[in-house]
């Protein structure tokens, strides 16, 4: 994964709460087995509406999504993250994220910037008023800034997730450094726990 230090660019305001992952990418897209090409299905139902904010040419090429509270709730589908990334987003700003969505985001280098309700509202309004507004998501300082309108909002992101984003670490590589500990732990597994291999049935 590439390190992510700063995401800057224009933003799209998605002024709705409780945007679940079924809205971000509907289930009909889940039959594909690639990780790419999901951008075309992003917010599929809403994209049919010419008035939907993502269809507004003023917002074309934006890299930051500013959403209402409770973004990414529901289904664990990581396709939601892939769709956002494939569409061109590198960061999502919201006052609250679904837990699984937040975890999935950082694994694809999408920054989930969890701001306060008041800052979230201020950013939504600023970006709606001026689609050309420059927004900066700074992972190292954990700040969302819009210097043009004087917004500087701290965001929550746990230390591990921040560190992995900044260093572009591969999670499996990091864990593999502890394989000896994992083997030792597995050696202590109680005998009564089921195994993947079915117990041999008495043969006739």
């Amino acid at each position: 994964m590439k390190p992510v230090r700063i995401v800057s660019g224009r933003a799209v305001p998605l002024d709705r709460s409780d945007v679940d992952t079924d809205q971000i990418i509907p289930s009909e897209w889940l039959k594909r087995i690639e990780r790419t090409g999901f951008g075309a299905g992003l917010f599929a139902e809403w994209r049919d509406d010419p008035g939907f904010v993502l269809n507004d040419p003023d917002h074309a090429g934006a890299t930051i999504l500013v959403a209402g509270p409770n973004f990414g709730t529901g289904s664990s589908r990581e396709h939601a993250v892939w769709a956002l990334v494939d569409h061109g987003f590198s960061a999502v700003v919201s006052p609250r994220f679904g837990d699984i969505f937040r975890n999935n985001s950082t694994r694809s280098g999408l920054v989930p910037a969890e701001v306060s309700d008041a800052d979230g509202r201020a950013l939504l309004e600023a970006v709606s008023a001026d689609p050309s507004l420059e927004v900066v998501v700074d992972v190292e300082r954990r700040l969302v800034e819009a210097p043009g309108v004087g917004i500087s909002a701290p965001f929550r992101l746990d230390d591990d997730a921040r560190d992995r984003l900044l260093r572009g670490l591969d999670d499996i590589g990091v864990t593999s450094q502890h394989l000896a500990d994992i083997d030792a732990y597995e050696g202590r597994r109680p005998t009564w726990l089921p195994t993947l291999r079915p117990r041999r049935q008495a043969s006739a």
């Binding site: 990581e78 837990d99 499996i172 990091v174 864990t175 109680p190 089921p194 117990r199």
Partner: protein, 358 residues
């Protein structure tokens, strides 16, 4: 469905799967939660998953459930109380006499919908009901191993006087059968209630969400829930398609008919449930009432196969999510229990079994 049936799901285990309803297994006192594709990859490669210690939440449902009130109604009431993100960052332990009184099937229904309140996992401490369910299942321990396992499992309870990061209490006696009216699972109301008005909501965001939900659902504030007509009834999903759910629905349908013009389908959660139901003659009850008796699977819960709603079609569904488009583009989903789903199929509008009369 299959993990518990086969005895693969056992108390004290850690279970992850690329499905947010993995929390269902928490009914056995297992720590079980949904993960994304990259995390699945991590588990397959290393057999581990780095986690931060979550916060704890106790949801206590004290007292006794009234007749006709099911596990589904309990969890809809809980989600309604917590909201869609009230449980974020937490693992919930469900406790109290009403939870203890539930069968394993009912406990699975409750834990299943933990994610609908934002909690990745929900758990219930194992007890005699758990052990009785597990004993003799294919992958459950046998003989001396069984004795040792049960002894170990008995220790998996919360200490007396333990402190939780958050606590929520509900009185079982005040929970009535629930119906969702909106487009997220926290937008619920008792079946004898009315569609709420956006003006009743506490925050501007909730008012906005409620107004949007009413427009999508084609409902007007103040409408009595029992006057809302439905086009389709779906009984199925990992929330409510176990044998007990099918029995509850069949009990309502015996000697009754699905209302003319209404589409009704019942989809057992697993092959084993399907065979058990057929052995009990439940398939006949459903067929005679006018239900389609289908092969096991997810079906109309999430509309990945052709079982979908058309735009504007209204469905009483025993599934877990009433999101926009969840059951098909433009479809309108109302979450209910199996008994309410069955009664609704007969009445053609939301109804309880008691509301059908003799």
């Amino acid at each position: 469905m299959i993990g518990p049936e086969q005895g693969l799901t056992q108390p004290g285990m850690t279970i992850v799967c690329g499905d947010s309803h993995t929390s269902t297994h928490g009914a056995f006192g297992a720590l079980a939660f949904g993960i994304g594709t990259s995390e699945v990859e991590h588990v397959l490669a290393t057999q581990t998953l780095p986690q931060r210690r979550p916060r704890t939440m106790a949801v206590t449902v004290g007292g006794d459930l009234a007749p006709g009130v099911s596990a589904k109604d309990v969890v809809l009431a809980v989600v309604g109380r917590l909201g869609t993100t009230g449980g974020v960052g937490h693992i919930v332990e469900y406790r109290g006499s009403a939870i203890r009184s539930l069968s394993m099937e009912g406990r699975m229904t409750v834990c299943n919908m933990s994610i609908e309140a934002g909690a990745r996992a929900g758990m219930i401490a194992p007890d005699e009901v758990t052990f009785a369910y597990l004993e003799g299942r294919r992958y459950a321990p046998k003989g001396a191993d069984w004795e040792r396992a049960v002894e170990d499992w008995r220790a998996l309870t919360t200490d007396e006087g333990a402190r939780f990061d958050a606590e929520v209490k509900l009185e079982a006696g005040s929970i009535r059968p629930h119906v969702s009216w909106g487009t997220n699972p926290a937008q619920v109301v008792a079946i004898d209630g009315r569609v709420p008005s956006p003006d009743d909501m506490a925050s501007p965001a909730e008012r906005e969400a409620a107004a949007r939900a009413l427009a999508y659902m084609g409902l007007e504030a103040g409408t009595p829930i029992t006057s809302i007509e439905v086009d389709t009834v779906f009984i199925g999903s990992c929330t409510n398609s176990r044998i007990e759910d099918l029995r509850a629905a069949a009990d309502v349908l015996r000697g009754r008919r699905v209302r003319k013009g209404l589409r009704a389908l019942v989809v057992p959660g697993s092959r084993r449930v399907k065979l058990q139901a057929e052995a009990e003659g439940l398939d006949q009850v459903f067929r005679e009432a006018g239900f389609e008796w289908r092969e096991s699977g997810c079906s109309m819960c999430l509309g990945m196969n052709p079982d979908q709603l058309s735009p504007g079609e209204r469905c009483a569904s025993t599934s877990n999510r009433n999101f926009e488009g969840r059951q098909g583009r433009g479809g309108r989903t109302h979450l209910v229990s199996p008994a309410v789903a069955a009664a609704t199929s007969v009445a053609g509008r939301f109804a309880t079994p008691a509301g059908l009369g003799a």
